[in-house]
Subunit: 708 residues, 2 copies
Amino acid sequence: MRLIVSLLLLLVAVTAGADEGMFPVSELGRLDLAGAGLEIPATAIFDPDGNALVDGICKLGGCTGSFVSAQGLILTNHHCAFRAIRDASDRDHDYLTDGFAAAGMADEVPAVGYTVRITDSYRDVSDEVLDALTPQMAPADRTRAVEKAAKSISLRYEQEHPGKRAEVAEMFPGKTWVLYVYTYLRDVRLVYSPPLAVANFGGEADNWIWPRHSGDFSFMRAYTGPDGEPADYSEQNVPYHPAVVLEVAAQGVADGDPVFVVGYPGRTYRHRSSYHLAFLNDTYMPAVVDWYGWQIDLLEGLGADDRDRQLRLASRIKSLHNTHKNYRGKLQGISRLSLVEQRRGEEDLLREFTAADDRFTGQSDVLDSIGRIYTEQAAATPWEYWLRSLRSSPRIVRVAMTLWENAIESGKPDVERESPYMERNRRQTLDGLVVTVENFDPEADELILAELLERSAGIERARQLPALEGLDHGGLAAAFAGTHLLDKDYVVAAFDLSSEDLAAAGDPFLDLAAALYGPWLDLRETRKSRKGELDVLQADLLDLRRTFLGSEFVPDANGTLRLSFGRVEGYAPRDAVWYTPVTTVAGLLEKDSGVDPYHLPSRTRELAGAGDWGRFAPDSESGVPVNILYSTDTTGGNSGSPVLDARGRVVGLNFDRSWEATINDFAWNHDYSRSIGVDIRYVLWVTWKFGAGERLLAEMGVDPVAGD
Amino acid sequence: MRLIVSLLLLLVAVTAGADEGMFPVSELGRLDLAGAGLEIPATAIFDPDGNALVDGICKLGGCTGSFVSAQGLILTNHHCAFRAIRDASDRDHDYLTDGFAAAGMADEVPAVGYTVRITDSYRDVSDEVLDALTPQMAPADRTRAVEKAAKSISLRYEQEHPGKRAEVAEMFPGKTWVLYVYTYLRDVRLVYSPPLAVANFGGEADNWIWPRHSGDFSFMRAYTGPDGEPADYSEQNVPYHPAVVLEVAAQGVADGDPVFVVGYPGRTYRHRSSYHLAFLNDTYMPAVVDWYGWQIDLLEGLGADDRDRQLRLASRIKSLHNTHKNYRGKLQGISRLSLVEQRRGEEDLLREFTAADDRFTGQSDVLDSIGRIYTEQAAATPWEYWLRSLRSSPRIVRVAMTLWENAIESGKPDVERESPYMERNRRQTLDGLVVTVENFDPEADELILAELLERSAGIERARQLPALEGLDHGGLAAAFAGTHLLDKDYVVAAFDLSSEDLAAAGDPFLDLAAALYGPWLDLRETRKSRKGELDVLQADLLDLRRTFLGSEFVPDANGTLRLSFGRVEGYAPRDAVWYTPVTTVAGLLEKDSGVDPYHLPSRTRELAGAGDWGRFAPDSESGVPVNILYSTDTTGGNSGSPVLDARGRVVGLNFDRSWEATINDFAWNHDYSRSIGVDIRYVLWVTWKFGAGERLLAEMGVDPVAGD
């Protein structure tokens, strides 16, 4: 990967013991990797002048993937490939339940809507962005100016480099921005997935939980046109040849071994104030837990007796569950660790420090100003969260609002549009609409809307919305009977209509969208203004803390490529309990109750009974290791990240964190922050024994029987 | 303790690693105690010619106790002293909630109904018992003959040694019997008990569970007359001077240290057949779990809003919960370990062995015969368990039946009576009746009776009972309105009446008892007959197994004095989880949610905050060790047993087993069989800091601050 200009990131000098940190790969040279147990130099992982390990890693939807063969074979999580597997299924082929194994490349199934993103290069563009700002700007104008500058930089790059995709990422809020240049591969196909009972063993019950026994992996493959350039799906396409292929280490790892993880962690909030944390803890997360919990109950009830419907709602329920349980873990962790009080204590010391030092005259109210913003936001949250829920939870309103907003935004110059409606993003936005319409469940939408109308009673601004008048239960039924938005073709066509055309259509949900658009714009403006204010304050706070602590920080995760290292190691979740870091097939069989979510295919027991482990079981009684636990620093977006050993070989596939580590996003701690991966030996054994045979193993250069 | 004649018990040669076994103390000389890590000789534990450690151990109700001072101070479990603490409480003093600490000996409160039993001597009487049997006897006659022989031996001994109490215990069913000679001390007083929130921290949720944080201990004291002989309570009485005082080891133990437990384990069933196990697993335990669960729901509901009623029902609910959870643990363990199948496999091998060997001609059907008896018992269980529940679950029927049976049995010669009605036992039986009447809850009884009447619908023999006619809901209400049995004085007086007098009383529940007595006698006869048959078959089976395996066995627990040794050690309850064997106050605070059953007194947190540990915390951050886990072999009846270190000093107080070890009663296994005790350091720290100050510690020779 090419690094165009070294990033001016603020980094702490890392000692071998301190394994906190999702380090931008450009900074690896500053880290003591050898002290952390790694046996390869930083340049073998990231090389600004050539190819290195990170070039074997891609982004796949919201997940990370690794190239594990020269033929573009990608290893990622089953839950990342979930939609592709479901879409490949039909009445006669239930690939979710039974698993999927293409007999050969010709049988690989297109994963519609999937793209593979490869990072080509990046450079710091902070100066260009900051040039667009003036100190006098109102906060919302400031946010808009940053957005516009970022878009202009991206567009300019893309115009100069046709076929490339450019994105500006904010590293430290309000301070530093980086331009990332990507190649998108658009022909992605499903190669192999294990049965759901293997991939999702333990289901929601075990999600975020150790000990874990989940085979959460799948194989996909990227294709290009015959010329090697990105192309839409075509039978003429050929497998993509990645610049770097990661080696798969069939011998695995053991307790105590150093490992590292490379991937695209989403968001962390470790540099935020106690006020942000208190807002999340007291206001925002409880609201989400409440609303998601209500929706989970509803959707699970609707799907209970109807397998087709259950499948259609599965992704949605899974996603709701995932956040719901994550937030409950966070709430418990914040309380258990007294995190708000702890951060307040730190801020009190910071206040004393700044008050006593002339350099900070006039800055002593940074924390108070941040506090004021969150107090206001907390007060506004019942209304704001209700409006956001109304826009996104009932899918029909989501589609109507997107169509309406698209019509409005399309009338503006490209660079001034909201990002999803810029020419470069419109297709992806439309694809999203189509997927939503294909999975409509009008009854669910109607019940969700009715509940939101019910809940509006306690929210003054909601009660006063004229658009909601007449939308009682009877009104809702009539609206669903009269809408055209259940029709995919209609929605696709409507994506090119103006707001006048949409208004003339007389569709009840488009009319609702038009009526909600004003309040929605107000909310958007409020949020931009809040962000504009907070960006400045956050940047000041960061400066203060750096001076106070005399140390530098690793930037919060922001979806860009990061590396984190640690070891395979257990932890003590509570008094007198120690979790060891490797689970086995023996434990899998122990959990198997024959009842969902602990219901194994009988084949697992047969293979175990026969001791049919190949080379993958270090101990024939316990069988193949299933999942591993390690002390790297990860968050959402690290799903599918390879877990690499000291020599950079793939020994696992990251897919989750432990319950205590849900709090990671606010505070990492070596005592309890652990990530969970599928042991590569389980990946290989399952692939070999559950449908794919030796073919894929051979493609990865693994002999399932002979040792090293 | 004197051993009159060496017991002819069958013992396996014990190696240091094999810590299964509740060994009769007379057999310690055969064990490799040094190999197990003990630093004292067997004669220091049990000395047939003089006093030794076991003489510092007593039986206290159904529990075990240790003498820990020369003034008769007894250390036992809080749950063993529970009734005494509750009875000492009144409207102004809630000693359960607040704890109790006598300011001095004069303030110690009589524990009415409590006795302390000290073992004086014992001898094998198998020959005398077997002399009373002939091969031709019918099974029920055989059982009766054994019972009569045992009673005669006891009575003869007691007549020859006034003031002593003699009991014959069956060691191996149908094979060996031992006469135990006891002294009973009748003046027992409550000295100290911690608050319930300390003693029962974790409540039913944590019962049978590790990690545990329970301060389940209390101190009581035994008194004698001024002449040193057993006496009823009197102000003139003086503290009992035990022959041996156990030393309390304030320094405690650590992971890996050898420990042993001495006490009175109740019942184990390790030598029984697969048929017995299958009967318990498929029929008996599920019936108990169902019926106890129903009663728990009822009684908890009744006590929910009424603290007095809750207290009155507390012991009863606790006891139901304890068995209910224990049986659920056993059912889960039997299934998890495939214990029935495993024992069947052993029996198949035994069958092959006996079929191929001339010595066993004619004995090949021992197992089949046992199987037939359990098949019959399983078929009869709906009726039999229903009738037994009818006799014991509604307390009013229990009292009426006991009065009626007492009237009938009192008409027989003493040695032919059922044991509770023999002259030597009548007083204890009456005491039990009084306690029952004092805790009557007529509404609970009425609802339980109504439920049993409801359940009779599915049981043919129950439906045909004429006594139940007219006992619908209305009839029950009338019966409760018309009975005299709610009156304690009436019940005490009725205990001396004949059956004619009782019949003439016209009491609806005495009439019910009279009507149920016939079916009850039938059931008693059936059970005696079954036991008579099984005793012979069990004895034969034991012989067969001994020949087959070429090894000897330790007799099943039978309420007699036993020793078991092991180590302080953790275990793996499931894949990737390891339980370490010492919990601490830090973990206690971690569990404290402020809500029952995890609601600590604020004092614990204050003391912990101040690091006010005295000498009792090896690590000031984790604080005082609370509970310990060890691999000895224990069962119910071991409650209150001292946990002793390599030098025979008290380092803990046994009170429970781990969940996986509920299965102990059928199969001990070093992998999962663990007992749970209160760490002596927690006993001492709590006593010192929660009410009693240094007085009791000084009496035990412990300085709470200075080290060794």
